[in-house]
């Protein structure tokens, strides 16, 4: 179980909803940062992923190592959170 999961989202992004739905279905809790509501935190998403895209999911493991998954990509998301 990861220590922490943060998802950067926007209001109109359908894939953001899918990441939340998938994490919820698998029993993971997460913190959501909506960059439409908090534009000042957009830079954090950009820094974490190096990409201008959402959703950005930042998984912090128990040993504080981090994995960043851009988009709704279950092939990357599933191993990142397991």
């Amino acid at each position: 179980m990861p220590k922490n999961i943060t998802i950067f989202t926007t209001n109109t992004c359908a894939y953001c909803g899918m990441v939340k739905k998938w994490l919820g279905a698998k029993g993971y809790s997460y913190e959501e940062v909506n960059i439409d509501e908090h534009p000042e935190r957009q830079q954090e998403a950009l820094q974490a992923s190096g990409q201008l895209a959402v959703p950005v999911t930042v998984v912090t493991r128990q040993d504080d190592s981090q994995e960043v998954v851009v988009g709704y990509n279950l092939a990357k998301l599933a191993p990142a959170v397991s």
Partner: protein, 321 residues
Amino acid sequence: MVEETTDKNKVWDVVMIGAGPASLAAAVYTTREDIETVLFEKGAIGGLAAVTDWVDNYPGFPKGISGLDLSANLQAQAERFGAKIELGEVSKIEDKGDYKLLQTTEGEYKAKAILIATGSDYKKIGVPGEAEFYARGVHYCATCDGAFYRDKKLVVVGGGNSAAQESLFLTKFATHIDLLVRSTFKASDILQKEVKQNPKITIHIGTTTDEIVGKDGKVTKVIGTDTASGKKVEFPTDGVFVFVGLSPNTEFLAGSSIELDNIGLIKTSMNDLQTNMPGVFVAGDVHSGATMQIASAVGEGATAALHIREYLEGKPHPIQN
């Protein structure tokens, strides 16, 4: 963590591949008739409708509706009657006689009937810089990534309804948009009018997109050709959104006997939306000859569901006789 278990030997009445408008509509019909239905979705529930900013031409919503809300409504209606949605991808289907076998990311599934409603995905333009700057300045989903271009300049590539509609959406963020239309502007009259009237959009008809150029990992300009004069043209920009059409999601059928047309859409031979593999039906954008509209996808979904019921009951539909 919750591990879901599936009974490997369970034979579902119908497995629907994709959870876009076509399948969700079909699922409303099948589940209301107690036909056990599971949908597989590898992307967004609601399909392309979910990533469309605004839908103005879906009947029943006089003021229009956001694509995300329409998708949520379709999902809620299908789930209300018992449709199950699995978040996963189907990679293969096989006809085993008594049942169909599906290989999925969630394991093997068996079904008496299948509905393929996998729609299509955005096409790439295939120019230098497109792959290099993917998601770093080159995008295919305005509702996903548009917010990164507040107060920035953009180039939109494409000349159809999607390019026009998404350009209008992107004006919520961008200061200016250069819309590069390779040949003719094919968007509907009403969309063309809106785009032409929007002071933030400049339309460049007859302009190809030849290269996406960047520096230090950021897109800086698009180089194209003005086809009338043959001269190179440059558009300084912070990002590029591409809407140049769609390619069918039928790769997973490679190696199956399902018949496709020359662009990869699924053919049907009779009026019952059944493919050449008995018990496998098709609906929506992935059907050969589809009109690529939500209303028609939903209509075909409903029609397919009724034919699936007839198939499950072992009765040919009257219109086949």
